[in-house]
Symmetry: C2
Subunit: 200 residues, 2 copies
Amino acid sequence: MHRPDIRPAMPAERISMDVKTVCLGMLTDGPASGYDMKKCFESSFGHFFPAGYGSIYPALAALARSGLVEFEKILQEGKPDRKVYSITEKGREELIRGLSNSDPSHKIRSEFLATLWFAHLMSEEHINTVIDGKLEEIEKFLHVIDQFPDCECDSAQKGALFVAGFGKHMASEFRKYIHNNRDMLTDEDEEQAVLAAVAQ
Amino acid sequence: MHRPDIRPAMPAERISMDVKTVCLGMLTDGPASGYDMKKCFESSFGHFFPAGYGSIYPALAALARSGLVEFEKILQEGKPDRKVYSITEKGREELIRGLSNSDPSHKIRSEFLATLWFAHLMSEEHINTVIDGKLEEIEKFLHVIDQFPDCECDSAQKGALFVAGFGKHMASEFRKYIHNNRDMLTDEDEEQAVLAAVAQ
DNA sequence: ATGCATACTATCAATCCGATATATTAAAGC
DNA sequence: GCTTTAATATATCGGATTGATAGTATGCAT
């Protein structure tokens, strides 16, 4: 009725493994441009932590403002100038802080599963299209990851191998589950099964 | 040099399985309030498609504006009024459209993996904290999903069972991979490797 | 010669996320 | 009895992320 001094929170600068922190981490392998980093996201990092230009460039700008990275403009003939970023000592400290969170998240956002949840509203044909498309995608991914390591951004040896192995394992289990269970979405006797389940 | 009629995109109203579409889907099981839907996200949907109040309420408002849902204000004694939403015929059509995307995404955003990628910059103790924390989380999730189905929002039988089974399978494979491979992050010879790298 | 790929930069609107605010009641703890 | 916590409900706000687009230049293929 008369608000007693509400102030806007000030979230205490949460320790988080965000795009900024990942960029700092990448720079521990040596200087790189935003473009280089995007490629690294595409080839390896992005499989479990995606980021596009719209996140990378603002992240680098913010890091530079806080003095966690420095950059050097390199003029090139023909091509646009490169801004080559390197991590500072302060940046290294901040990276360690970013890694210190004891409960980092692991989130899935799956339009695929959300769609199939409503399989009863879809034609059998379309269900198959969706599933076959996803299987193809997984196949491609497994092919890519099989010839890992192949990217330059890996001082990370141990960690990179662990993460790549994880990706490979989960992708092949993804495939396995779909192979073994896709029938339950398209089986003829679905009507019966459902009725039976309700009946008893 | 003079651009031949570039027009500002008009994104053609992308077909997407977003929060709005999921809310429409939930409403096919009967009318519900935003609060009800949040609970449904927490209990089941959120495991593969998270959404909080900050997404749900704006989504419902937008759906109402477009005439895809209607709502009725229900006055209650003691408690605040409920706004109970129901799907319209137009909304059902839009839902079907939302389900018609042939290539729905399945994305992972894992601070967990991003952190462990840099395991070589972390203490063995902290690596173990992070991993044990995640294992505990998985254990809880498996416990929850074992007593599925238990939520009210499931006309979806087939789809819900498929998705729940998927979650269960992937979670237990997650656990298995960590059990079998966590040693590679904390093995003794890491120190040597790191020292050697620094020394030269 | 025209379009397409590659190499670089960068921005914008739409959306989403996490935290917070407001209000009331009921149960649970001290 | 008093107080804290949980549950029922609504809603908003800043900050971050997404996906698409824009701009500029070279070289390659059709």
